[in-house]
């Protein structure tokens, strides 16, 4: 029963990782941009919600509903203002630009909030759980996170495959110049992709913040989880990202069951094994983004 518990918790944790990684996957799939500030965006969102709930009477849910669209707009502006110009001079420039963004966000947060560790207070929800059997119970928060991850991934998949904008996004990912000749403005398409990526990473950052504490410098550590989920699942595939997140989550919880010190190492080992033996990822080659 202990192992069943580890597996269930691992799968649920995987949902959070997938939610966290899908924006990274989208930005890489559409623009070939590796966003090194991805983890810091998640942390920034957490601090914003933290500020809103301690300074105003607005609750966590209300603050989330304010911050998500704000991050979408922020994403569009970062893309059109910083990343698109950098993209014109090559992929290395975008790497440097996002690295710079990461440092700016970390230091600004440290300046504004000090290096203290914080947590988002979600009241009784943090410890409430659903008892399935005597030894197996799952936290509502984990279930909600997992449900949100599935909703976001399905919505993203439908957006890319069914809508005109999604179609143009895939076309632009294939061949930006040919898309331009069909009337698409790559700057705008890229802006939308980054807006979606930032909104999803903000949501993931908030779910993280409700379940564990955060500090201004934790972004890069979180970023590694997103990278690992994307690489394990296969670059550019949304379902791959979900599978990758779950494999990573499972490795961590099963590793923790063997020895708590083994938690993060188990995830990294799976990641290395995939890189060594199946570098195209578990769900390979069916590009969706």
């Amino acid at each position: 029963m202990i192992w069943v518990n580890a597996i269930v918790q691992g799968l649920l944790l995987g949902g959070l990782y997938a939610l966290f990684a899908c924006g990274l996957s989208l930005m890489f799939g559409v623009m070939r941009i590796v966003n090194l500030a991805h983890g810091d965006m998640a942390v920034l969102a957490a601090f914003l919600v933290y500020s809103i709930i301690i300074t105003t009477p607005i609750g966590v849910l209300g603050a989330t509903l304010i911050v998500l669209p704000l991050f979408a707009v922020f994403g569009y502006l970062v893309q059109t203002g910083i990343l698109s110009p950098a993209l014109r001079t090559g992929p290395l420039s975008t790497l440097l630009a996002t690295f710079g963004l990461s440092i700016v966000i970390q230091n600004a947060l440290q300046q504004g909030y000090s290096a203290d560790t914080r947590a988002l207070d979600v009241g009784s929800l943090v410890s409430a759980s659903l008892h399935i059997t005597g030894q197996l119970s799952v936290a509502y928060l984990s279930l909600i996170t997992f449900g949100l991850a599935i909703v976001v991934l399905v919505a993203l998949q439908l957006f890319l495959s069914r809508t005109g904008t999604g179609r143009i996004m895939r076309a632009t990912a294939d061949d930006p110049e040919a898309a331009t000749l069909s009337g698409a403005n790559p700057r705008h398409v890229y802006g939308i992709a980054t807006a979606i990526a930032f909104a999803t990473v903000a949501l993931a950052g908030l779910m993280f913040a409700m379940q564990s504490s955060f500090s201004p410098s934790i972004g890069p550590t979180r970023l590694i989880f997103a990278f690992e989920a994307v690489v394990i699942g296969g670059l550019g595939s949304l379902w791959g990202t979900l599978v990758g997140g779950m494999v990573l989550g499972l490795a961590q919880t099963i590793g923790a069951q063997v020895d708590p010190a083994f938690t993060l190492l188990a995830g990294h080992l799976i990641f290395l094994a995939v890189l060594a033996f199946r570098p195209q990822g578990l769900i390979a080659a069916r590009r969706t983004a």
Partner: protein, 232 residues
């Protein structure tokens, strides 16, 4: 009335002047063929008109407006559609999605009328098509934008004679819809057959222009290869 007027257009690739002070005009509803050997600047000329490369000098006037520095996506929205060299379909999209990408028309029926085989194969991935089929879809994709000016860049390149014939057979229908066509072609006889006027480029400069009827094969040969006749 001239739909397109190009005046003294010059385009450079670094040190190389690919298009050197080229002037041309295309009357509404007519077809102009630009011929010339490899490296004559034909593709560069089309790309500069379509807005994917910025010229170093000269002007492009479309429908009475100076569009020299207008970006390609806006020109595409205003009815200038380029079928690029090498077809450039979106490989991860299906045939139908390729047609619908950036389309103003909501359905693909008009393209299926032109190329009936697309009807059965619309759900297929674009990368599974043969070269000639890909070229047809690339032309269809451009037509989906309801172009007033269609720019065709070497649609016969790398295709079998049968496939080329199939593509050129669609041209009269496209022209009958009132579309003005500017096509670039290495295959001179093909170009002479479909064009109202012909312009021959040599090393980036226009060397010969006229209607197919008034140009002699000798004159075209001389212009095409840049031969200078020895005084006899």
């Amino acid at each position: 009335m001239n739909l397109l007027v190009v005046d003294q257009l010059t385009v450079r690739h670094g040190q190389l002047t690919a298009v050197n002070a080229v002037s041309l005009d295309v009357a509404d509803g007519t077809t102009l063929a630009v011929i010339g050997a490899n490296g004559a600047g034909k593709t560069t000329l089309l790309r500069a008109i379509a807005g994917t490369i910025m010229p170093a000098g000269g002007t492009v006037t479309y429908d009475g407006q100076n569009v020299t520095r207008v970006p390609a996506h806006r020109l595409a929205a205003n009815g200038i559609r380029l079928v690029p060299e090498g077809r450039r379909l979106f490989p991860s999209l299906t045939v139908e999605e390729n047609l619908l990408a950036g389309a103003y028309r909501r359905n693909v029926n008009s393209v299926i009328e032109l190329f009936p085989w697309i009807g059965q194969r619309r759900r297929q991935s674009a990368r599974s098509l043969s070269g000639g089929e890909q070229q047809a879809v690339a032309i269809g994709r451009a037509l989906m934008g309801n172009p007033r000016l269609l720019l065709l860049d070497e649609i016969s390149l790398g295709l079998s004679p049968v496939a080329v014939q199939g593509l050129y057979a669609a041209l009269p229908d496209i022209r009958a819809a009132g579309t003005t066509v500017l096509l670039v072609e290495q295959d001179v006889s093909q170009a002479l057959r479909v064009a109202d006027r012909v312009l021959c480029l040599l090393e980036g400069r226009p060397v010969l222009t006229g209607s197919p009827a008034e140009l002699t094969p000798e004159a075209i040969e001389t212009a095409y290869f840049g031969l200078t006749r020895r005084a006899s």
